[in-house]
Symmetry: C2
Subunit: 308 residues, 2 copies
């Protein structure tokens, strides 16, 4: 297949590129490096089936080439420190960026995948969250530049499906971790690694009782493949059901290392969700379970990657 991926130099994008190339597909990656990393492009530049275009997809996607089979829209800052540093760019890549990617898919008769997020559920009042839950997002809060951008991206994706007949598939990605995350990502997994490397206290925002379910990157990539190879599912959660609170996570992390990291408590972050876990009924009945990597194994891989 001939596949174009926006956000190809990002954490998830770069793992997708790798998998596609390994399976013999032709891949065009697009990134503007606002949050993606050049080193993630350099990994594949020597590969004969990989082409890279440096471009801001919010302005245009300057692809010229053979007809595309898939357009995968994965471009966006995704961690709170990054999207709060670039709120307007984050909003734009959700709106204009998504629309440019949809137009490209429509022009090529390609299938379209939107990388959406569990953040569309906001601070959920329903737990776990099924795809039918409408969410609890503050439209004017400091996280809204990301959350509302993604909700808008979902809405325009559905509009292109209903109005223009594009085969669109929305995946709502829950917390995912693994090698190639930016160390300054600002989220819990990379903050743990930073504390380990720099021997600094790990900051817990709030009382540490907020929960997340962590999915290892390889499991996410496997799930995405199954979504691509299945009949169209309009919207699907992709995440792990194994829920941990932050204090439990620190304990697991410390059990894997020869020295423990310390931690301290800070003020809770604005609009930070207190719980987050996917209801996986739809996934399990349609594409099957693909959460094989335990938190311990995933964290070991990640520690090995960063602590050479």
């Amino acid at each position: 297949m001939n596949i174009l991926i926006t956000g190809s130099a990002g954490f998830i994008g770069s793992h997708l590129v790798e998998r596609f190339l390994n399976e013999g597909h032709t891949v065009t990656g697009v990134d503007n490096y606002i949050s993606g990393q050049k080193r993630n492009t350099e990994l594949f530049l020597a590969h004969p089936n990989f082409t890279f275009i440096k471009a801001d997809v919010s302005h245009a996607i300057p692809y010229v080439g053979a007809p595309l089979d898939w357009v995968m829209h994965f471009a966006s800052p995704a961690s709170p420190p990054h999207y709060q540093q670039f709120p307007i760019e984050t909003l734009m890549v959700g709106a204009q960026g998504t629309q440019n990617a949809l137009e490209l898919a429509h022009a090529h008769g390609a299938k379209f995948m939107l990388a959406s997020t569990s953040e569309v559920y906001g601070d959920p009042l329903v737990h776990p969250q099924p795809e039918t839950y409408w969410g609890n997002v503050n439209p004017i809060g400091i996280r809204s530049c990301y959350d509302e951008a993604k909700r808008y991206a979902e809405a325009i994706t559905m509009a292109y499906h209903r109005d223009r007949g594009v085969d669109t598939r929305i995946i709502r990605i829950f917390n995912t971790y693994g090698p190639r995350m930016r160390l300054d990502d600002g989220r819990v997994m990379t903050n743990l690694i930073n504390s380990l490397i720099n021997k600094t206290d790990f900051k817990i925002f709030g009382d540490g009782g907020q929960t997340r379910s962590f999915q290892y990157i390889a499991d996410l990539i496997e799930s995405i493949f199954h979504v691509m190879n299945s009949p169209r599912i309009p919207v699907i959660n992709l995440g792990s059901e194994h829920e941990f609170d932050i204090l439990q996570l620190v304990n697991v992390f410390n059990s894997l290392n020869s020295h423990s990291i310390g931690f301290c408590f800070e003020e809770p972050l604005g609009d930070d969700p207190k719980v987050r876990k996917p209801d996986n009924k739809l996934r399990n009945s349609s594409i099957g379970k693909h959460n094989f990597v335990s938190l311990e194994s995933g964290l070991k891989n990640m520690i090995q990657f960063y602590v050479k």
Copy 2:
């Protein structure tokens, strides 16, 4: 003052233009007539302080002239039949359109007003709805092209305030009625008028128990003036607290006319809110109450306008 209004040929936009001109201000109206009406522009074309630009604000706002004091972004299809006919255009005017208007305000050092909507509350789980309620909107439903576009518009408005220092004011407009609505608007008030004129049955979608609070256009315009002339209020509800269900509304309407209209029941519309009423505490304490026109008087004015 020097004021630019997008959506100047729309129902609310045209009443704002009239009021501004009457108060001696200079007004530039912008509209692409996707849902606005030419006759609403023609009302003011002879006025020396009015200029009209035909343009799609989602692409650009080609204003060249004296520095602006206010940019008022009122452009958008607003009735379900219109926005469902133009879902992508509706999404675009919420995203690119709002951003173009914000950029113009920023370039001129002008204040910015966003015409948002009670639709950001969706099918509310809290009743009445205060500004602090986060809403219950289906991001992938058939109304999401409008609801999510407006939520996005609020988010980018706040981003321009936080990131670029623009004085932004978001008004969430609840159901409003009066002369100059399009007769094919598709909402309850104009459907009543149509039934009266054409002697056809008025269609009630669902059991008629869904409630709305109806605000007369003159009261809305008065409130908008008070928001403009007050210290910045980031987000404020503008609507009437007088709640009616649809069957009550039909009874009031029939009491005003020499012949009664009949009605019939149809299937409920998708994602149609069951209740909708503003919590007006913030408004009452900041700009005061401005709902003076009773439903009976307002409807009489409207009937007189359409039934010459």
